[in-house]
Point group: C2
Chain length 210, copies 2
């Protein structure tokens, strides 16, 4: 059966959102997945903007519940961190034990971005923690995002693709997305091989019982 | 049995992180919950900073898996959006169908914050969508965050507490946290009453079989 893949990322906010999601969906199909994207289903008519927001949330969660895997675009969005909607969706899929892969189109890691946010004004406190001028501590784990994101992905054997896209292609460069598709497809192959091996072993065991 | 409550928020980055988590834990106990906080368990010695990050991720996920509820502090952090680690954790708990409540110490909603980020330079495109000068569309659903966050909480019957804290108490004001505790405690009471009612009905049914 084809594995359903949820496609999470801030491209839903782009002027060419539909085109980008179509491109991602086509690539996902080329790698053997059945893509599910936000915006694929029609939003029912609602009485208020708030009700519309809730309706979209329901549809997207339903698509995640149906999917066995997610690729999340964690490219920084309106600031130094990933789009919160995408982060929520990555957490949601990790919480359900799904297959996960993430990519970013910015090469600077989380620590480097926070350092730039503080204009380099970072000092070391009495306990050896790095702190900004506002007193908030900095994570310096060599990760692309907060440790819960990288940790959630890496500890599940998920791929983290880092690619320095050109500034004008920050949300449209799909190099990292393709790297995630390749990693996920390879993982699925290994899982299927293990399953088939398990079946063969079962068959042998059964024949031994004769 | 006491309900385990995971406490998610950016206070882990404060200079007085331990003190803040202790205050939150004490409040949670006063409302009948057993609090689980990041930082409660000792991090095992690791060979590298990266391994330490992964170890913390593992401990925090384990605490979430054990918890039946979460209160997440979505106060904007280093920019216009909530801390990504906290957002991941909210998504994680929603994905597992746990009880959720969130609060923010900033009264301006998501749309108002993005509008300020763009210095008010927002225009309407041909399809009626609001867009910033970078072409990215704005969500205007009257929500405190991206619709996946508010939607995930509201659609589960969770509480969204909004409180305008003083700037110097942005990460230490616990008014919203207490509002979430009250809402969660009331919800638990209703659930327990429904469960007890269910038991009575069961008992009656069983006696009818005699």
């Amino acid at each position: 059966m084809t594995m359903k893949l949820y496609i999470a990322g801030p491209e839903v906010f782009l002027p060419n959102a539909r085109e980008m999601l179509t491109r991602k969906a086509e690539l996902a199909r080329q790698y053997g997945f059945e893509p599910l994207c936000p915006g694929d289903l029609e939003i029912p008519k609602t009485d208020s903007l708030r009700q519309m927001g809730l309706a979209i949330s329901e549809i997207d969660e339903h698509m995640m519940n149906q999917s066995q895997a997610v690729i999340a675009n964690l490219t920084p969005f309106r600031g130094i961190a990933a789009d919160p909607g995408t982060v929520f969706e990555l957490g949601y899929m990790c919480g359900q034990g799904k297959l996960v892969a993430v990519y970013t189109n910015v090469a600077a890691n989380h620590y480097e971005r926070v350092l730039a946010y503080y204009n380099g004004e970072v000092s070391i406190d009495d306990h050896g923690h790095k702190r900004g001028p506002d007193g908030l501590s900095l994570e310096d784990f060599g990760m692309i995002e907060n440790l819960m994101l990288d940790g959630g992905v890496e500890r599940r054997g998920g791929h983290v693709a880092i690619h320095a896209a050109e500034p004008e292609a920050l949300y449209t460069d799909l190099t990292g997305f393709i790297a995630c598709l390749e990693a996920l497809a390879a993982k699925v192959k290994v899982m299927e091989a293990a399953r088939d091996h398990g079946r063969k072993v079962d068959t042998l065991d059964a024949s031994n019982d004769d």
